[in-house]
């Protein structure tokens, strides 16, 4: 989709909602170096959200949508949970169908878009919670990776079922007392990043969303690698402050505490050999582009 597609007829301009007018005036569709720094100076691709005040998931959503390299040709797939309360206000096409089937939906979607738009980039990005990704949807999560489906899977890991009120999930820490784990969870947090690597993902990152620049980097890498090579997986800690007894302003600190080197969300990354090569090529191109821009700027000022 080009930005021309979203233009408003002059005769109808004043009756369009202001958020749509803003989208046309200042959203960053098509901007090559779009990123988290656009937040505040351009229209974000998320209008509002109905998540709790201070929810780290809302931060993650904003950073991710600011960082997608190609939002004008990206379709997102969600699942049931807190994320499904946000997607209706996101300005890229997105699909909610059932709970846990997100990677199956994305498999069919990516193949349909490849059949219909040969030679054109159409990125598919899955974004779902840990219950959807690891418990009810694990089969479809893994099978999409086994088949080397070319899309990115993002898991918002809040270590429990938040939207239904704080029940035990597979990504919950061992010993945590929650609904449906009345004497504490009896088994370890499922090691999905390692399973993702063994299942054929070419890029796997486990981190928090405390640093927008880091989110931007891993999102861009994950989408580019999925587009060219094969499946990628990001597991992002987005704590449910409500269910772990924190206040609205404490989400950021919770993420910082959990990403210390000995903690469970210390930055971990796996990159396959073909993916390393692609990232090196992309970095070289980026350097070239920046050098050319610098030279041009120099010529203009001289």
């Amino acid at each position: 989709m080009s930005k021309e597609r979203i233009q408003i007829s002059e005769a109808l301009y004043d009756i369009m909602p202001s958020d749509y007018q803003d989208l046309v005036k200042s959203a960053t569709y098509g901007k090559e170096d779009r990123g988290w720094k656009d937040i505040g100076t351009s229209k974000e691709l998320i209008e509002q959200h109905s998540l709790c005040a201070g929810c780290p998931e809302s931060m993650a959503f904003r950073y991710i949508l600011a960082s997608l390299p190609n939002p004008e040709d990206t379709v997102m797939v969600g699942s049931t949970g807190c994320t499904s309360l946000v997607f209706p206000m996101v300005a890229v096409h997105n699909i909610h169908s059932l709970f846990g089937n997100q990677n199956a939906i994305a498999s069919g979607l990516k193949r349909a878009l490849s059949v219909r738009f040969p030679g054109r980039v159409k990125d598919v990005v899955v974004l779902a919670g840990d219950g959807a990704t690891v418990d009810i949807g694990l089969d479809m999560t893994l099978q999409a990776w086994f088949r080397q489906e070319k899309f990115t899977t993002i898991c918002f890991d809040n270590e429990l079922y938040a939207n239904t009120g704080g029940q035990e999930s597979g990504l919950m820490q061992k010993g945590f007392v929650a609904k449906m784990a009345p004497v504490g969870k009896l088994f370890d947090k499922v090691r999905l990043p390692e399973i993702a690597r063994e299942s054929g993902c070419h890029y796997v990152v486990n981190c928090t969303v405390s640093k927008p620049s880091l989110v931007e980097k891993v999102i861009r890498n994950a989408v580019h690698i999925a587009r060219e090579i094969g499946p990628t997986y990001l597991q992002l800690y987005t704590p449910c402050i409500l269910e772990i007894g924190k206040n609205s302003m404490e989400g950021l600190q919770e993420m910082r505490d959990s990403e210390k080197p000995t903690e469970r969300f210390a930055y971990k990354e796996y990159v396959s050999e073909p993916a390393k090569q692609l990232l090196a090529e992309l970095a070289a191109k980026d350097k070239e582009r920046k050098a050319a821009a610098k030279q041009l700027a120099g010529q203009v000022s001289a």
Binding site: L85, P88, A104, A112
Partner: protein
Amino acid sequence: MADIHSVIGTKNKKGQTYTDTWKMMNDAPRTPSFYTGSEVIKEALRRASCDVMIAYPITPQSEAAALIGELFAEGYIGDYFRGESEFAVMSQCAGAAFGGARVFTTTAGPGTMRAMENFPMWAGSRLPIQMIVTCRGINSPLSIQPDTLEISYLLNTGMLVWHAETAQDFFDWILKGYMVSEEPDVHLPLALCCDGFFVTHTKDVVNLTPADMCLPPYDPYRSPVPCMDMECPPVRMMRDPFVMKSNYISYATHASWQQEIWAAIERSRKHSIHWLNGLIDTENTDAEIMIVTSGTAVSQGREAIRLLEDEGVRCGLVKVKTLRPWPEEEIREATKNAKHIFVPEFNVTGWLAKEIKATIPNHERVHAGPHVCGGMTMPPEIIVSEIKTALGMKTFSLAGRGS
């Protein structure tokens, strides 16, 4: 945006000519061919301009699903793969249809049941996916034999549900089915059912349309809901998702959405009548005894009528072709002269008889039977016996039936 009219008369990459569907189905020459039902499904798909087919093995549809894989290898289908379960396959079909593809899949029995959560979602999302259901037992202990109980579970999903009698029905209805379900005022999935083994694994003479003609491609921009391909502007759908609100507006939205699905099924009537030449077929509707049924039970009913005629008993027939939309008016009209209505079925509960009883006046006329299930065949003699018993006529004793 694609304009289907512009491609009529042009060729696809396999050299087939995109042909006006009405001309292809009604005017083009037909070639009699001796094929199994599974092979007929393959031949229909060859002509269907299908973008994506997703397969999973389950008897008795495995052969058809594998044969369509051969079509993919030959270049007739855009993409094809084996999913990991029927639940996943039906979600993959949904993903492909959300992305604007013409989608086809096949399933049977326990697979239909495993995938069930997807079907109301397909309808609610207005995805015109076509799913072949080759019915088989869903009971425990495990059975792979013909049994139509699974159809009853599909009736309230919001899908169109058709029940084919023969391989010829199958061939024609696969192609015509897309024409009905892709209409902008319908745009719903179609469950095209047949009785497993009886249709899939037997050979029959089927008149095929020319292999060098195919359907016009699907145009996803005729959909009443946006295609999820980022080719049209994304809009903010609502301020707060209705799932999290307990108020009148959210209830009213859900209610009207459901009503719209059922209104779309109603709107499919006119298209189905046009393409299928009516929602029912009838014979001898002036008779006082009528057999009303669907699927291969129709063939057995026809044979029973012949046997009864030999004994001087005149009997009529209603072949129900579409279960959704339900041909209420047609069945009332066709049975208005009947004093006795028999509904032979290949399932234990007699769901079709219940539908008919709820449709016609004086429903005490309906004899729900005979029923066979679990893979039992239905010899026409047991239909004859059921009818004669009900009429108080002397009938021979059938082994094991206690009559």
